[in-house]
């Protein structure tokens, strides 16, 4: 019986891509050219995504490794581990791939969003409270790109990312996960 991810039984010419195995973590290849697992994003593509969409400098992710577990769920880890590895968790979820529009996670935006320089929307206290409750709101003031944005507000004198918003048709949709939604004071 061949093991689809350790490479046992892999074809000798190396052209055949292996299937992604959902129950374990596989490290992302450095570039698309290094890809050995079908459909897996590369480290370079992930870092490009954050730079192109949000202006986050690639240097922010230096020293971190990126992993896939489950279909398209990307995790970020502060150190290195052998790949593949069958464990319960490896760092933090950071991005959802294998879909037309990649979506950063709520936790990724809260953790790294302060490095963003574009596609960030600054919310008023009322808008921020609506967003944290997980509610959609009219948002005609945004004339930038459609798609995923970082919703931010001011807290203790500085901007602080709240979560991921989806902007379409003059509307800002909150994607704050149910378990994180909160009824918070307007301030």
């Amino acid at each position: 019986m061949s093991d689809p991810e350790t490479g046992d039984g892999e074809s000798s010419d190396g052209e055949e891509l292996r299937d992604n195995v959902g129950q374990r973590f596989g490290r992302l290849p450095a570039t698309p050219g290094d890809r050995e697992v079908e459909g897996r994003a590369s480290r370079a593509e992930v870092i490009d995504f954050f730079e192109e969409r949000f202006g986050i400098e690639p240097a922010v992710f230096e020293g971190f490794s990126f992993w896939e577990k489950g279909k398209g769920k990307i995790w970020i880890f502060a150190d290195e581990m052998p790949t593949p590895i069958r464990i319960e968790g490896l760092g933090m979820t950071v991005l959802r791939t294998r879909q037309e529009h990649w979506k950063p996670t709520h936790s990724a935006v809260q953790r790294f969003g302060h490095h963003a320089t574009k596609n960030v929307v600054d919310l008023t206290p009322e808008q921020a409270a609506t967003f944290a409750r997980g509610e959609d709101q009219d948002f005609p003031e945004w004339d930038g790109d459609w798609g995923y944005l970082i919703a931010s507000h001011e807290l203790a004198g500085e901007p602080e990312p709240i979560g991921v918003g989806l902007y379409v048709y003059d509307e800002l949709r909150s994607t704050v996960p149910k378990g994180n939604q909160e009824e918070l004071p307007v301030r």
Partner: protein, 302 residues
């Protein structure tokens, strides 16, 4: 009979001890320094009109005037995490450094684990293990909420924990915050003693010995292992340390304990323990207005 009566001979002020056990616990949060400096978190609480008092021995711990930080902006942002004051002690005794490899053998739900990550500036590796899937899910949720990226979550039996998956052979430090009879949590869970039996104390002590032994074996010579429980029973505290002093290569070492404590006991019922267990710490609820706790720091000698 109240099981706590058996410890009355160990405490210096019986009345203060029993009174404190009846009082509810103050609500304490730890500032998650991965996400916010303590100053900024305090400023955010001030803005929100949430009253608090900084704990005098640690600026990252804040005693709230009222229960529950769950509905405030700084909590939503993962700047704060509810954590009992005394439970911040084992990580402080362990003193993990950025870049090290640290094992937390009984990690869920993760207050201490995420504290270790924060102390390491979220660099290096914390292996957070637990053997219960439901508790692991709480650990994962908390780590994610607090923005921890240096945590590896595993589900193994701590007594025969394998490092094989990780590509390294030993830890720099390990923490065994063991499953225990939880007598010291009486202020948080007043019904915690309803199920108390001496048989359970003995059976959980056997598990504690197994996990602590494995932690010492898996830690490099010169490395540090911290053992802690939230219980008063010497069977689960000094007796467990005494056991590993006999069977493993380790010794008890001192650490700077910012809380008032009493030395470990060297005699209990018909047993005598190694004299060095006097250098371990018993914390009774009336000493610092916290839960009850026990903490020992060990150095691996070979």
């Amino acid at each position: 009979m109240n099981p706590l009566e058996r410890y009355a001979p160990l405490v210096d002020d019986r009345e203060a001890f029993f009174d404190a056990c009846e009082r509810p616990l103050p609500s304490v949060v730890r500032v998650n320094t991965i996400r916010s400096a303590p100053d900024r978190a305090r400023a955010a609480l001030d803005e929100a009109g949430v009253g608090y008092e900084a704990v005098d021995w640690n600026p990252q711990l804040l005693r709230l005037d009222e229960r529950g930080p769950g509905t405030s902006w700084p909590y939503f942002h993962g700047w704060l995490h509810g954590q009992e004051e005394v439970s911040a002690l084992p990580a402080i005794a362990l003193d993990p450094q950025p870049g090290e490899k640290v094992w937390d053998s009984c990690a869920a739900p993760g207050s201490k684990t995420t504290q270790l990550s924060a102390m390491m500036d979220d660099k290096g590796v914390v292996i957070g293990n637990d053997n219960n899937l439901g508790r692991l899910s709480a650990l994962r949720h908390n780590a994610e909420r607090l923005g921890v990226t240096n945590l590896v979550v595993t589900k193994q039996d701590g007594r025969n924990f394998s490092l094989k998956p990780f590509g390294f052979k030993e830890f720099d430090r390990a923490i065994v915050d063991a499953p225990c009879s939880c007598e010291g949590t009486i202020r948080k869970n007043p019904d915690t003693l309803d199920q108390w039996t001496l048989e359970h104390v003995h059976s959980v002590a056997a598990v504690q010995k197994g996990i602590l032994s494995r932690a010492i074996q898996a830690t490099k010579p010169g490395g540090t292992v911290v053992y802690s429980t939230c219980t008063f029973a010497p069977e689960e505290n000094e007796a467990v340390v005494d056991h590993v002093l006999d069977t493993e290569d380790c010794e008890v070492v001192d650490f700077e304990n910012p809380l008032e404590s009493r030395p470990g006991v060297t005699e209990w019922e018909d047993d005598e323990y190694d004299p060095s267990v006097e250098r371990t710490h018993r914390i009774y609820p009336h000493l610092n207005d916290t839960g009850g706790f026990y903490c020992a720091k060990l150095e691996v000698t070979a």
